[in-house]
């Protein structure tokens, strides 16, 4: 009788441990926290941001980004459309394998700053989509493929590192060229603020020589 109880207790412990294991593993590797505010337009009014949802505006358009390709880093990622978090930051993609395009900003290839973000690592410190973003150097190619299959080619110009809470107007609002900015976390993880203390921003400009179709 005593042995049976212990066996049952051990069985329950096994089931509970497996449940914890699966939950933590899934949460750390499959689902990235987004904290995206809905509806963002109301938040934008509160924050003084003039938000224009390019996805809604261009509902009929096929020029919206669908995939981001970086041959040097062996990246071919799906592009999610992201907005703002409740704190007024650009939201991040909801997993560790896709990238997120800031849908209230410039459409990649058009005049202005198009911004795409991706995670650097997942919840167990394994590499995420932009883990090697810092390996990009001036002159490297980046492609944004639209939903109709057209590819827009960008050439890396520079890399910058900013504090995680720095408001960098130029990143989102530079309008004197067709610019693509890729952002990921950098620096060290700070438990108190539950994020990395730096952000890496890679700036690329639209190439004059384009590859029109795949």
């Amino acid at each position: 009788m005593q042995g049976n109880r212990q066996t049952i207790f051990a069985g329950v412990l096994v089931v509970a441990s497996l449940a914890v294991f699966s939950t933590v593993l899934a949460r750390a590797t499959l689902f990235a926290p987004t904290d995206e505010a809905v509806p963002a337009v109301i938040l934008g009014e509160v924050l003084g941001l003039d938000l224009k949802d390019n996805v809604e505006v261009s509902a009929e358009s096929t020029s919206l980004p669908a995939r981001l390709q970086i041959p040097k880093l062996d990246i071919d990622a799906k592009v999610q459309y992201v907005g703002l978090t409740k704190k007024g930051n650009m939201a991040a993609p909801n997993n560790f394998t896709d990238v997120g395009w800031y849908k209230y900003g410039t459409v990649p290839g058009e005049e202005g700053s198009a911004v795409i973000a991706g995670h650097v690592d997942n919840g167990i410190a394994l590499p995420a989509i932009f883990n090697k973003l810092d390996d990009l150097a001036e002159g490297d190619d980046i492609y944004v493929e639209t939903s109709e299959g057209t590819r827009v080619r960008f050439i890396v110009k520079e890399k910058n590192v900013y504090d995680f809470d720095e408001k960098v107007d130029m990143v989102f609002n530079q309008k004197d060229a067709s610019i693509l900015r890729l952002i990921t976390c950098a620096g060290v993880w700070v438990p108190k603020i539950r994020t990395h203390d730096k952000r890496l921003v890679v700036t690329a400009v639209k190439a004059k020589a384009q590859i029109s179709k795949n």
Partner: protein, 164 residues
Amino acid sequence: MTKKILSLTLLSLFVLFSFAFTAGTASAQTATFPAGCSSALGYSVTTGLPCNGTSTATIGFIAGCTTALGYSITTGVPCSGGPIAINYLAGCSSIFGYSVITGAPCNGTNVATIDPGTVTPTPTPGLPQTGASDNALVNIALLISSAALAAAGTLYVVRNRRAE
């Protein structure tokens, strides 16, 4: 004695010049023109009559002037077209924006200059949080401990079954 007289003369001249300059500025800022006119140039926006008070309006700017403000750089005459120069047009407190009286641009040209102080810069969203917001060490510890517990529990159950 000569020095005293010279000093007094200089002082008097200084006072006179200061007065004249102040008075000139004041009159420049309080210059009045016919209703609907911000200078002596062109026509009144309310009455349609020439702003210079004659039967023929002065069209365009005075030679050497690019606005109705200040003095001509070639002839030195007031650019207002009147007897005195104006610093600001009627209804204006600066060269920016539009006159609250005539609605004309305050810079004295046909196109108003926007006050740079009133231009609101485009707000910027914050940078995204692109690292997992979980502490990797805690997650790894949880994974290892739960896996170890599951393994130990399984082993215990298997052994008990075999013993039975």
